[in-house]
């Protein structure tokens, strides 16, 4: 009986976390829906059917990757090059998964589910909600999945009913969202230097390689810099320069407040 109650409370806890994540990502809908519309319109004009366009958003679920792919399809590119480009545009997802795998202990079933919904936005927003939790991460991921597919459906079915992603500077919302999560994390000297190293790397790579590879490069250089900067740290219970060690959480950002209005 006691066991049953615990399972129930865990379940309602997870459900609450899922909805927190779902709502916390709502600010990013403002960018995701217009981007989805833009993708839907571009895919239709590149010769894809409504079904193919929607299927791509349901299966691939990557704004940068899909928009990149569609511009290549319009130019008539080979399928292998298409797949390679879409993967290069999403290369940072490897590092994202690595970071999540370190912060959460997930079963294989949970990893398979998480991988389905994992995006930069969902990870960033989940970090802002508090200590990283699977339910929050999945909720945020599902929220982005909803917005992206809704936007795609609008764009593919109805056409450009909404202003483009660049209108009113709406494309600024996603970087601002990441910035809000980032700022509380850079309160120590190593963290500031890591941010500088990663920022410069991204700036340098941005003009040379697809976005995902640039973000991955920034991540790798930043991590290497961080490891080097903390090389004199004694092993054991580390005097964490970042509030993100196991079991320690960043100061909650109360992203839900923003979603609530």
């Amino acid at each position: 009986m006691a066991h049953l109650t615990r399972v129930d409370s865990t379940r309602s806890d997870s459900l609450a976390g899922f909805w927190r994540g779902y709502l916390a990502l709502l600010p990013l809908w403002s960018g995701a829906i217009p981007a989805g519309v833009a993708f839907g319109v571009a895919a239709r004009s590149a010769g894809l059917s409504v079904g193919e366009t929607q299927a791509m958003s349901l299966v691939v679920f990557s704004a940068a990757g899909q928009i990149g792919a569609v511009s290549l399809i319009a130019g008539g590119t080979s399928p292998l090059l298409l797949i390679g480009t879409v993967m290069a545009l999403n290369a940072q997802l490897v590092l994202l998964g690595l970071a999540i795998g370190r912060q959460l202990r997930l079963s294989w079933l949970e990893r398979l589910a998480t991988a389905w919904l994992l995006t930069d936005g969902a990870y960033g927003v989940s970090l802002g909600v508090g200590p990283l939790r699977l339910a929050v991460l999945l909720g945020a991921g599902a929220s982005m999945y909803t917005a992206w597919n809704l936007g795609t459906a609008l764009g593919a079915g109805v056409g450009a009913v909404l202003p483009g992603p660049g209108a009113f500077g709406i494309d600024l919302v996603a970087p601002l969202c990441f910035l809000a999560v980032l700022m509380p994390l850079v309160r120590s000297r190593p963290a500031v230097l890591v941010a500088v190293a990663a920022g410069l790397t991204a700036l340098l790579l941005a003009r040379m390689v697809p976005g995902g590879v640039a973000v991955l490069g920034a991540g790798l250089v930043g991590c290497a810099a961080g490891a080097w900067l903390t090389r004199n740290e004694v092993a054991g219970p580390h005097p964490s320069p970042l509030p993100l060690g196991e079991g320690v959480s960043p100061p909650p950002l109360r992203a839900g407040d923003g979603a609530g209005g």
Binding site: V86, M87, V194, A198
Partner: protein
Amino acid sequence: MGPGGEVVTGMVWVILGMGAGVYGLRLVGLALRDVALPAPLRQAQGGIWERALRFVPVALLTGLVVIGLTAQVSAEPMRLVAVAVAALVAHRTGKMWACILAGMVVYWLLGWLLP
């Protein structure tokens, strides 16, 4: 259908291939935790791996902010001003809605004030 016609015919397979590729990327990082790193390697160099991974959020988020700004549809200087103000607000308040609101309001104001 134009020059892309041939590609479009096999589109279902291309879509599935792209989906599998991206899903694989998402899963690799999550899977690597206990597959690719045996304990000796993880302990090597005084926990260099652990120390490096601790900085993933900062490094990755910085990269995302920079790429998000450089890949903008229109990258004007006033975006940088807006982002700087938003960064200050995020630093002071620690609230996401305040950061987004401050950045957007400054951006709109600048666009309205400057020709």
